[in-house]
């Protein structure tokens, strides 16, 4: 390889000055709050912050002694796998179809992108409305076919409800990226395979899917983060973590304890735990999963 042509800054301060805006934004909006959370997780204070006591690892010990907190790890794992898995596969399917549509492409695409503009809490309420045990239109239809839908007491139903709402909310985002990814695959490759006699399914599986893998990987990371962090409003609106604690995912408890119950120390400790989990997951994804990605 020929050596790259490198441009070197003569001035010592200019590169830093050019970097500064980005560094400041990251520091103020990411590192500072994260440091605050870390600090608060070692403290216990009353609601108004009048007295703050240094409690060391007490907040973390409280969490570990709470059986329901440990149980919510399992709930979160199930929820995240379902949301990321279903979200990715459904939107990939839709993108592949949208890519093949000849007439009315724009209408089809626009309609698929709309749900992204819906706020999470609204998405939760929309789905709650359709599935409300006594008045919901879907639950009414389900009763007609013999399914007694009741997410107020049936944990599986409740989980299904929040997974559907969360997936629906994220499909548009995934769809956009998949569609862009599919359109950047050279048509000649697909056509060559078609001439060789490959059916659509085989063309997808051996050409498009592997070439989409960078997009898929990126979306996988984004969707896992989405499921872990951005879904509390949906849970809050649709099930409030119930029945029992069957849909109380980790981030919902962070939100609830911090913003509703005003237990800042406990809430901060939970967000530190959550932060550690997501950092670990991201490292795993980049170290192991990324190796399977073909750029």
């Amino acid at each position: 390889m020929a050596s790259e042509k490198r441009v070197v800054f003569r001035s010592g301060w200019l590169p830093w000055a050019l970097l500064a805006p980005q560094v400041i934004v990251i520091a103020v909006f990411f590192f500072w709050p994260a440091a605050q959370a870390l600090l608060q997780s070692f403290q216990q204070s009353d609601a108004f912050g009048l007295t703050t006591e240094w409690v060391g690892l007490q907040n973390f010990a409280n969490l570990l002694n709470d059986a329901t907190y440990l149980a919510s790890f399992k709930t979160t794992a199930i929820f995240s796998v379902l949301v990321a898995g279903l979200g990715l596969s459904i939107s990939m399917l839709l993108a592949v179809f949208a890519d093949r549509v000849v007439k009315g492409t724009h209408i089809y695409r626009t309609l698929l992108i709309w749900p992204y503009a819906v706020a999470p809490a609204v998405a939760g309420v929309l789905w709650l409305f359709m599935f409300a045990p006594s008045i919901g239109i879907v639950s009414y239809a389900l009763r007609a076919v013999g399914i007694d839908w009741n997410h107020l007491l049936n944990g599986t139903h409740a989980m299904t409800l929040i997974v559907m709402a969360s997936v629906w909310k994220q499909i548009s985002y995934n769809f956009l990226f998949f569609l862009a990814g599919l359109q950047s695959i050279p048509k000649s490759l697909v056509e060559a395979a078609a001439i060789d006699g490959a059916r659509p399914w085989r063309r997808f599986w051996t050409i498009q899917f592997p070439l989409l893998s960078p997009t898929t990987f990126f979306l996988f990371v984004i969707n896992v983060v989405y499921a872990f962090f951005d879904t509390f409003a949906i849970v809050d609106a649709a099930t409030a973590g119930g029945p029992g604690k069957d849909t109380a995912i980790l981030v919902y408890k962070v939100y609830y304890d911090g913003f509703k119950a005003l237990d800042l120390g406990g809430s901060a400790a939970q967000s530190v735990v959550l932060m550690v989990i997501v950092i670990a997951l991201t490292i795993v994804q980049f170290r192991f999963v990324e190796k399977k990605v073909q750029y």
Partner: protein, 437 residues
């Protein structure tokens, strides 16, 4: 240039002089009242503002109860808290513990020269918001309690006497069975399950919900609602759920709507549902006292308080506190009180306003509206005075979670209540630690 500046300055001076000799003092009031209740808050403020010239109450809706309180906490930390804050009853212990953040209402009234006579108030209402030394801590603006709403039309259809609502739990179970037999899909349901079936249930049966007189004795209180009586009641409800006599309709006030729509025939709910039922129900409805177990000595005692009260935040100017005191004094006025009570279904807070309402014949014209008052107006005991616990918001959530496990058949009543008590006690221990006196 100079002349222009001079003219401007003169203009400003003239403007300043032409204004009122004394500027009006603005009092910020954050509340959580929506719909018709928001209109009520606006009318109260307008009434006060029109009654005098020195102060101006500015009410602001800040979201639901559990949104307003965190908003005020954040504002307090930033130094921009309102003067008056409406806090729901479960937030009472938290507010009480925040000594530097709030000023007792009793002190605000006394400093401004108003006389505070505790005897003028309904004991069960004002007792809840009073410190052990007899000082009124917050102003009980809107207090409610638990009642049994029932659908008279469905009662008739089931062959039940619409003017004889069930008074005991065994009677309620029988009535529910008859209603179900007549084709009602939801014979009985409940809103605020923790509040109605555990908290109010406890005081109604003169049984402790938590030690230390339900938290009135101090922050060392621990939960006690896994007693045989509580277990028996929850077991009873679980059996009703199994037979389809009790249908669970969700947390909070979610069960109010199916009652308004005529789907559920009986519902234990807040007495403040009165205005909404009257507006929404297309059927004849009745209001009855909460059922009880007749074999329990001392039952029925009194039901527990709900709703919210007004807290005065600390760190404000002296003349602003004068305005707050004047506003509270205006609210205590018997006529204002009686009007509010009749309009909203919330409890009257002074005996005078209760008597005024009675004399005006309101209870006769609106049967059932006196049920809540009669449940609360009795002499309270140490066990029934109210429930005041730290971290109560989270404890309510635990009650919800554990009761749901009973209704779905995952846990027995005993298991669920034991678990709720031990989980809640952990929170109480933490509250005690964080708020050492």
């Amino acid at each position: 240039m100079k002349i222009k500046a001079l003219a401007l300055a003169a203009g400003f001076a003239a403007l300043a002089l032409s204004g009122p000799a004394r500027a009006q003092v603005e009092i910020q009031w954050w509340h959580s009242m929506t719909g018709g209740l928001n209109d009520w808050v606006l009318d109260l403020s307008a009434g006060f503002n029109a009654s005098q010239k020195d102060f101006k109450i500015v009410p602001t809706y800040k979201g639901t109860y559990d949104e307003t309180m965190p908003a005020a906490v954040a504002a307090f930390r930033a130094g921009t808290a309102p003067h008056i804050l409406q806090v729901f009853e479960v937030g009472t212990a938290t507010m009480m513990a925040a000594k530097g953040a709030v000023v007792p209402v009793g002190k605000v009234l006394a400093d401004a020269g108003y006389k505070f006579d505790p005897k003028a108030y309904i004991p069960a209402v004002v007792g809840y918001y009073t410190a052990p030394n007899g000082q009124m801590l917050s102003f009980p603006l809107n207090s409610s309690t638990t009642v049994l709403n029932y659908n008279k039309d469905l009662f008739k259809k089931a062959g039940l006497d619409p003017n004889k609502p069930p008074t005991t739990w065994p009677e309620l179970t029988l009535a529910a069975a008859k209603l179900k037999a007549s084709g009602v899909s939801c014979p009985f349901t409940t809103s605020w399950q923790g509040w109605t079936q555990l908290e109010s249930f406890s005081t109604w049966h003169n049984t402790l919900f938590a030690t230390q007189n339900n938290g009135f004795g101090g922050t060392s209180a621990r939960l006690a609602f896994n007693s045989p009586l509580h277990v028996r009641h929850i077991e009873n409800l679980a059996n009703m759920a199994k037979q389809g006599l009790f249908v669970y309709r969700g947390r909070g006030n979610a069960a109010d709507a199916p009652f308004y729509s005529g789907e559920c025939a009986m519902a234990t709910a807040s007495s403040s549902t009165y205005a909404s039922i009257k507006k929404n129900a297309k059927f004849d409805f009745g209001i009855a006292p909460l059922p009880y177990y007749p074999d329990v000595p001392g039952a029925p005692q009194n039901t527990v308080i709900g709703g919210a009260s007004l807290w005065v935040m600390g760190g404000k100017k002296a003349d602003e506190y004068k305005g707050v005191a004047a506003f509270f004094n205006y609210l205590t006025n018997a006529e204002t009180q009686a009007k509010s009570h009749q309009r909203t279904g919330y409890l009257p807070i002074t005996l005078a306003s209760f008597q005024m309402t009675e004399k005006a014949g309101f209870y006769k014209q609106n049967p059932g509206t006196d049920v809540a008052v009669n449940q609360m107006i009795r002499k309270t005991t140490d066990k029934s005075r109210g429930i005041r616990l730290g971290n109560f918001v989270q404890i309510r959530a635990i009650e919800d979670e554990e009761l749901e496990q009973v209704w779905s058949g995952k846990k027995t009543a005993k298991e669920a209540l034991d678990s709720a008590v031990s989980r809640g006690n952990e929170l109480l221990a933490r509250f005690e630690k964080a708020n050492k006196l």
